[in-house]
């Protein structure tokens, strides 16, 4: 009955602690620090700050932990079902006879961790509405002062200064110098944006840096910068890296410029172009106003050329001269011209009145009209003795009968005798 244990020597009695100690030694010394590939499951973010999860493959799993102190280096957020590479070692929890994988570094498998972080933050901010068009502010057409948040020594400030200066000499540039990469860069950039908002006195902000690797541009993919841009009441133009680089800042900004130089072009208009435009507007104003003057002038000459005027040629000539004068001065100073014109028109009207038949009658002349038909009599041949006529005076009239005809009247006689 005891046979099967007969070859076991009796002096090998272990305590539980001893055994677990031995297991711990064995596991922790023989298995080196390794990269372990697996899928995350049962993920728990503990209130203590530690992260607990399992790493599994098709057939097996192992509990894993990432302590709070190491979690600080995580740029992306682990999720259940995510394939990861974990750098770590096996650790035995002696007290409970339990082993787990102690994770020092965690990376997404297949895709870069920065890429993963980028996608995650993009998704998060997008769902919060930070990229919505409705939040985009208008970039002023003619900013007087431009705030810039970038490195004081980088290519970006040099390019910005050059292009701004070329396009719009005279625009004021205020720089808030920051570190654009490395530890603390994102915070400095965010602070720069906030300080400009506190300070005011700039019409638009350009935030960015020159080209670099994904790591170099990373600050512009951080939440702190994105939030600061979103908070900004001053419109923000993002100008990060090269044409092909898209950062989170680009999505939040009111306007994305592909490069710092392009940001400068978007921020200010071209001065030469503007001067040309003003010149052009001036010409259009002059042309259209001159056309209008010509039109009014033509209207006047039509008036001047009318029948009433032709009856008094010298009067007409005088007025034509005056009108010409008037029209010339119209072109020199328009405002004056108008009141003068009005006065002249008034006086013309008065003169016209003096030509009216009533005026002539007032001076003692009378009109002789045939009773039969009402034709006005201008020559003595037109009537014969015994014919009835009407006489019109300045006031009233009379009916008369022709007594005799005279070939010439007394005024004609006088003028003939004097020849």
């Amino acid at each position: 009955m005891f046979d099967e244990f007969s070859d076991i020597t009796g002096d090998a009695i272990y305590t539980v602690s001893q055994l677990n100690q031995e297991i711990k030694m064995l596991l922790e010394t023989t298995i080196p620090t390794i990269w372990l590939e697996g899928e995350i499951s049962n993920l728990k973010f503990h209130s203590s700050g530690h992260v607990y999860f399992s790493l599994k493959d098709k057939d097996s799993q192992i509990p894993a932990v990432m302590w709070r102190s190491r979690k600080a280096n995580l740029v992306f957020t682990p999720q259940d079902g995510m394939k990861v590479l974990a750098l770590g070692r096996v650790a035995v929890f002696h007290k409970r006879g339990y082993y787990q994988f102690d994770v020092m570094k965690l990376r997404p498998a297949g895709v870069g961790e920065l890429q993963m972080a980028f996608e995650q933050l993009k998704k998060k901010l997008s769902s919060e509405g930070l990229f919505d068009q409705t939040h985009k502010k208008m970039i002023p057409r003619f900013p007087r002062r431009i705030g810039i948040v970038t490195s004081p020594t980088g290519a970006a400030i040099r390019d910005l200064y050059q292009v701004l200066n070329r396009r719009f000499p005279g625009v004021e540039i205020v720089l808030y110098p920051v570190k654009v990469q490395g530890e603390g860069a994102a915070e400095e950039i965010a602070q720069g944006i906030d300080l400009f908002n506190e300070y005011g006195k700039v019409d638009v902000l350009i935030v960015g840096r020159g080209g670099g690797s994904l790591e170099d541009l990373w600050a512009f993919n951080e939440e702190a910068v994105a939030r600061a841009i979103f908070r900004s009441r001053i419109p923000v133009i993002s100008a990060v890296g090269h044409e092909i680089d898209f950062t989170i800042s680009d999505f939040v900004a009111d306007l994305r410029a592909p490069t710092p130089s392009a940001a400068a072009e978007l921020a200010v208009p071209d001065r030469e172009e503007l001067l040309n435009r003003i010149h052009h507007l001036r010409q259009r104003m002059q042309q259209t106003s001159l056309r209008r003057l010509q039109f009014e002038r033509d209207r006047l000459s039509r008036l001047v050329g009318s029948y009433s005027f032709r009856r008094a040629p010298d009067l007409l000539r005088e007025h034509k001269l005056r009108l010409d004068d008037l029209l010339n001065s119209m072109e020199r100073g328009m405002v004056h011209r108008i009141s003068m014109l009005k006065n002249r028109m008034l006086s013309l009207e008065q003169r016209l009145q003096t030509l009216s038949p009533m005026h002539v009658l007032k001076r003692g002349y009378a009109i002789c009209q045939k009773s039969n038909g009402g034709k006005i009599v201008r020559k003595s041949e037109e009537i014969s003795p015994g014919e009835a006529v009407k006489l019109l005076f300045h006031r009233g009239g009379a009916a008369a009968v022709i007594e005799a005809i005279q070939e010439k009247n007394s005024l004609e006689k006088i003028s003939q005798e004097s020849k």
Binding site: P140, R144, P169, G170, V171, S289, M334
Partner: protein, 70 residues
Amino acid sequence: MAEKTFEEAMEKLEKIVSELETGDLSLDETVRKFEEGMKLADFCSEKLNQVEQKLKKLVKSENGLEEQVF
């Protein structure tokens, strides 16, 4: 108009030119707008010709935020 901005002046100028061109104005109005437009054009050109490049930096001091020569 106190301290009119370039932007406002430019917009007004553009508006006046288009008003003049539609030709619905009385002659008096035309003359008035023409004069105003010319003044605006002068103002805008003058603004553009004020060439004084300034590059400063924003610094945080005990007195709060201020600009210094860069």
